[in-house]
């Protein structure tokens, strides 16, 4: 059996005593080396889950265990070493005066030797295509450039768990694909657990497992193919399915039944070809 790296056990959370519960009795596990996507409508509780994972917030009820340790005041420092996170708005996390200082910052905090730091700054900035901006002040970058740098900063500390909270939302589609393949290479190489919070359906398709949040509760937890099979229900809770799923649906209505629910264009074309050769 795969090792659990994160466990949420009956977690409930609200931002204040007078405020409504934003997470209700949430339980799930994240395994070592897996890619988990979390999706859900705006305000469903995704970012709150992310902040609970690295001890920026603490639950009022239930417990959270990361790599065997319960998240609490004492453990957060060692937990934050292992859990790297990129926030929804990268402006909230720039600390350095230049791009390169910013990437260095997290490593300094972890006592990484200077030689190694320089090497990693170069590696990670090149990996996200921002090498030529290493001396630029972060607030002078465009939205997508900021997101690239934020991702480089977190890759540089080589965490065990990487949480990307809509970290590529401002990138152009090509850039998004490139960055996600960089991240997934790093994941394979360093045996990382990757948690992506996203509204991008293409990104969801690539994950191994998906958790769907609705109104502070887990609505479903399954592989992408199973999730997207629930088209109408997903739409009811503010979500949608990818283009191929919609096309397969329309084909179905037009009398063409693809046997296996396609997840991408290649699978759909294969399905069509099989039908075509049979006729």
């Amino acid at each position: 059996m795969r090792k659990k790296i994160i466990e949420f056990r009956n977690v409930s959370f609200r931002y204040g005593d007078e405020q409504p519960w934003v997470l209700r009795n949430v339980s799930f596990d994240v395994y070592e080396k897996e890619w988990l996507a979390i999706i859900g409508h705006n305000g469903s509780g995704k970012s709150t889950i992310a902040k609970l994972m690295n001890g920026l917030l603490f639950p009022q009820e239930g417990e959270i265990i990361i790599d065997g340790q319960q998240v609490n005041d004492e453990s957060i420092w060692s937990i934050r070493r292992d859990v790297g996170m990129v926030f929804q708005n990268p402006d909230n996390q720039f600390v350095g005066t230049t791009v390169q200082d910013d990437v260095a910052f997290g490593m300094e905090n972890r006592g990484i030797p200077r030689e190694e730091m320089i090497k990693r700054i170069n590696e990670t900035l090149s990996a996200v295509g921002m090498q030529e901006y290493h001396m630029t002040e972060p607030h002078r970058l465009s939205g997508g450039q900021k997101q690239r740098v934020a991702i480089a900063s977190v890759l540089a500390i080589s965490p065990k768990v990487l949480i990307l909270d809509e970290a590529t939302a401002m990138l152009d589609p090509k850039g998004r694909t490139e960055i996600m393949s960089t991240v997934s290479e790093v994941q394979d190489k360093n045996d990382l657990s990757l948690i992506t919070i996203t509204h991008d359906l293409h990104e969801v398709v690539q994950a191994e497992r998906v958790i769907v949040m609705n109104n502070g509760e887990i609505w479903d937890e399954a592989v992408p193919r199973e999730i997207f099979a629930k088209k109408d229900e997903l739409r009811k809770i503010g979500l949608d399915v990818p283009f191929v799923t919609i096309l397969a649906d329309e084909l179905n209505a037009a009398g063409i039944n693809i046997e296996r629910e396609p997840l991408n264009q290649e699978e759909l074309l294969e399905g069509l070809w099989t039908l075509h050769s049979r006729t």
């Binding site: 305000g43 939302a169 739409r235 037009a254 074309l269 039908l275 075509h276 006729t279």
Partner: protein, 290 residues
């Protein structure tokens, strides 16, 4: 309002060692009433371009004209406030646009500033809140205690409350859930049609550009790379690939389909249903008996 860029160059931190040319010699014309999509890789100058439209930045060289307002170096329009009441901009980062104590006050700020009477503001808020998909109970909350997608909806509501003639949207659906993306874009489109707005949309979604825009401008490294109708621009795969972009997913699929089945289905901004019917014709068409 007509919008014209004439040989516009914009340089950040001009006359310093850090001078950075974000836009170079850019010219185009947007007739009043159009819906234009601006597309380009990150850093291609899109946000810099649109900041000219309400005078947030003044061209370093060249001239920008929005309706009767002219913006050139050393000659800002006297009535900047009037320009800003006519050109509403939803910025890329909604957080930067929010600053009041409560969501309600935040949305009211713009119209108050432009002298809209209080009861009229109340009426507008009642209308806008459901249109942007915000639950009413959020009106009393601090805008900083909201989720990312909720903040964006508040920022959009604040701009709509001013009732501008020109609507400028910088990646307005980033951070919205899929239904929110569709609902908000449909809402912008309806407003555009009903009120005869001029709309400038910066987007990474080729799908949205195809669906809503009547004209597309493709930016690359601070210059205009291509311009035209969506159905003309979005079939040019090689040209788009050269500048970090791609054709819409539907066009990608039609290309792959043609490669596999040897039969083209031309892209005419048709619906997915229509595409399914064309495919049905080809896949089942060869059936010897049916």
């Amino acid at each position: 309002m007509d919008i014209t860029f004439k040989n516009v160059t914009y340089i950040y931190q001009r006359n310093t060692p850090f001078a950075h040319k974000a836009i170079e010699d850019l010219s185009f014309h947007i007739p009043s009433g159009s819906f234009v999509a601006i597309i380009g890789h990150t850093g291609s100058g899109k946000s810099t371009l649109i900041q000219h439209l309400n005078g947030m930045v003044i061209p370093s060289e060249g001239e920008v004209t929005v309706g009767d307002f002219h913006l050139t170096q050393g000659k800002k329009p006297e009535s900047m406030k009037e320009l800003r009441s006519k050109v509403g901009v939803v910025f890329q980062y909604p957080e930067h646009q929010l600053f009041e104590e409560t969501v309600g006050k935040d949305i009211a700020f713009g119209p108050e500033n432009f002298g809209v009477p209080e009861d009229e503001i109340k009426r507008r808020i009642q209308e806008i809140i459901p249109a942007v998909g915000l639950p009413e109970e959020l009106l009393e909350r601090s805008p900083f205690d909201l989720s990312g997608g909720q903040m964006r909806r508040v920022a959009i509501a604040g701009v709509l409350a001013v009732k501008p003639d020109v609507l400028v949207l910088d990646e307005p659906t980033a951070g919205l859930d899929p239904r929110g993306q569709k609902d908000i874009m449909d809402m912008f489109y309806n407003l555009h049609k009903e009120q005869g707005l001029t709309t400038v949309l910066v987007t990474h979604s080729m799908e949205d550009a195809v669906k809503y825009a009547d004209h597309v401008i493709i930016m690359n490294k601070g210059t205009k790379y291509m311009e035209g109708k969506p159905e003309e621009v979005f079939i040019q795969k090689d040209a788009l690939n050269k500048v970090q972009l791609d054709v819409p997913e539907m066009v990608q699929f039609l290309n792959l389909f043609e490669a596999k089945f040897g039969k083209p289905i031309p892209f005419e901004r048709q619906s997915i249903k229509e595409i399914a019917q064309s495919i049905q014709g080809i896949v089942k068409g060869a059936a010897p008996h049916e």
